[in-house]
């Protein structure tokens, strides 16, 4: 399951973050790394972006970016 597919309240442990480009790097720098727990808090009124909780803080990102984050089954 990918982070972009989660409903509000859903989440899990990160298995993998795809991409060695600048966006992948930024996602990881913000704390989205393997083995860390993440949860979707809410989805913006127009369906995108989403708000997540990671490393004890709140982060917003687009679904296209959240799609790079794969959760452990």
């Amino acid at each position: 399951m990918r982070l972009s597919e989660c409903a509000p309240g859903q989440g899990g442990r990160i298995a993998k973050v795809e991409g060695d480009d600048a966006i992948g790097q930024r996602l990881m720098e913000m704390g989205l790394i393997e083995g860390v727990d993440v949860k979707v808090v809410r989805i913006a009124p127009l369906g995108d972006p989403i708000e997540i909780e990671v490393q004890h803080y709140k982060l917003s990102l687009r679904k296209s970016e959240a799609q790079r984050v794969e959760l452990a089954p």
């Binding site: 860390v36 913006a44 709140k58």
Partner: protein, 742 residues
Amino acid sequence: MSVAPSQAAATGARVKRVAIIGNPNTGKTTLFNALTGLSARVGNYPGVTVEKKTGALAPGIELIDLPGTYSLAAHSPDEMVAVNVLHGDQDGEPRPDAIVVIADAGNLQRNLYLLTQVMEIGLPIVVALNMVDAAKQAGVTVDAKLLSAALGLPVVPTVASKGVGMNELREAVRSALNDAAPTKPLWAWPPSIKKEIDALTSACGIDAFLAGRALIDEGGSAEAALAARKGENARKALHEARARLKAGGAPPAKLEIQMRYAWIGRTLAPCIDRQPAGPSLTDKLDRALTHRVLGSFIFVLLMTGVFVTIFVAARPLMDWIQAGFDWLGGELSAAFAGGSLEGGMLESLLVKGVIAGVSGVLVFLPQIAFLFLFIALLEDCGYMARAAFLMDRVLRFCGLSGHTFIPLMSSFACAVPGIMATRTISNQRDRFTTILIAPLMSCSARIPVYGLLCYAFVPHEPLYGLLPALVFAAMYFVGIAVAIPVALILKRTLLKGPTPPFVMELPPYKMPTPRVVWQRVWEASKAFTVRAGTAIFAISIVVWALLYFPRPHEIGVEYDAKRAAVRVEYPAEELRSEDQKKDLQDKLDELDKQETGAYLRASYMGRMGHFIEPAVRPLGWDWRIGIGALASFPAREVIVSTLRIIYDLGEESGGDEEGSRKELAERLQASTWPDGRKVYNLPVALSIMVFFALCAQCASTLVTIKKETGAWKWSAFTFFYMTGLAYVASFATYQIGMLLMG
């Protein structure tokens, strides 16, 4: 308390430099203000539009505020400046002697990420553990002593907004400057990466820090800097090194980040105590403020409130400023009256050049101050990030992001503060696109033009008299409808590049700090008045000269003769009745207005109006509208007073606004071509309105674009693309309108 370098040089002591760096939303600006007090100065780093803030931490110690950043892996100009200053690569900026890293105590994991990078630069570091009070409320307690021991760095708990810990922090900086050893990293790179960094270091002749950053940050600023300094061979070596690492299953960026977070996790665990806390105030607020229905409703309400305030509440202040200058102009004219210089060039230069120029600048101040008051409040309390969160999907239609919403919305009041507000957009290409389309939003200066023409030429009968209002609203829509394709084209051509990530922290809400808010308003107002003001002033003088000269002698002679001829018709002054006096005065006033009109028509600008008539004929315009449009290039609201002069109504009306609009509307309706046809009809009026909706008739905007982008070429680009679009669109409007009218 001054730390001006010249003074320090005179006393023989070198000014010590301390840089302060930290993540966004850590209260860095508040901390900087608390440490430097009134000594803060704002400037720009040369060549980039990144703000440079310095102040005195203590006598002989200068504090440099670096742009907020999450990482030293620089991808934006802001982040690059931060890295360059710390590394001593920024032109004219000696390497700092020590670094203060500010970290949010409530969000330490992520905040320490930057610290671990800064530790590799090799300078003494002091950690300011900020917002310990808010962290405690959220159930997070950090043991500063344990943390200090674990990091091997001085750690000072602070609450910058209340001034708590400032003396301790100053003291810690002083001792770090005096005797702290340079910080060393606490871990080793994996051998595979270490090997490549060492190879690059010796092959390219750079230090390990820069080699590491260039190797890790694919497409980042360090790579670009390396290629610029050491040539394409260095870039090639870099690419090969990266390819080797990836082939070996060790993508360097991923390894770096995992290594740092692993170290942070181990180091932090014994120092931090996290009690489960119920839903925080932020959670509760966000449930309403980002709610699907309620949140959108509050957002619309809030933005309407902001917009109406900028639009309406600034009005009396603007009128007041305008009235003040009008009064000053009147007093000046009165001082000239009766003297040998009455009605002369000096009077005109002072009243219509200097005073009109200065007032043309200062009249924008209330809107700028109000807008920045709201921006500072919304940003400092944390709502701005939510606004971007809510609006991102909408703005993606134009290839932009949620960050561009506030600047674009502000531009409906005035493009100048709107463009200045783009500083909150971190991606350079998004920021430039926003700057270039901001003037297409119909600003308040277009209102008099739309108002006059809708009143005079849009039929009032159909649709229960709503048609003029609908046409008025349609002009706002024209600007937006054009801005969308322009933004899309810009993002695909001139400002092409990879889509920037929309990865944005949603910080906890907090009370805005009055100091920070006030400083924001003050700096924006000052920057506009001083930097933009001088250029706008100069342009106003040039346009005054074009409208004033050459002032043919014959016109004066002709009107003197006419005045004399009128006077002869009346008895000598002491014998005139009250009625005769009034009658004569009216006739003389009428002649004065005609004379002003004659001078204008004979001026360089007037001649240009005649000259360009063939060019504006296809738009349905005569030379008079041509002059009006030309004279309005410095400021579009000038069109109304220019039309008044052209139609011999004199510059100012004595009566009320409604009366003066009616008076001018009647003149326009009566205006004819030489063959007797009416000049104005509905297509002509629409063509003029469309032109004013799309044309770049605002010197202040163009000057502000130069200031914010750092290059005149963007001002020139805006001017030409908007004027070209305006011409084509009003041509189409007129021609299609005439076809439909048969």
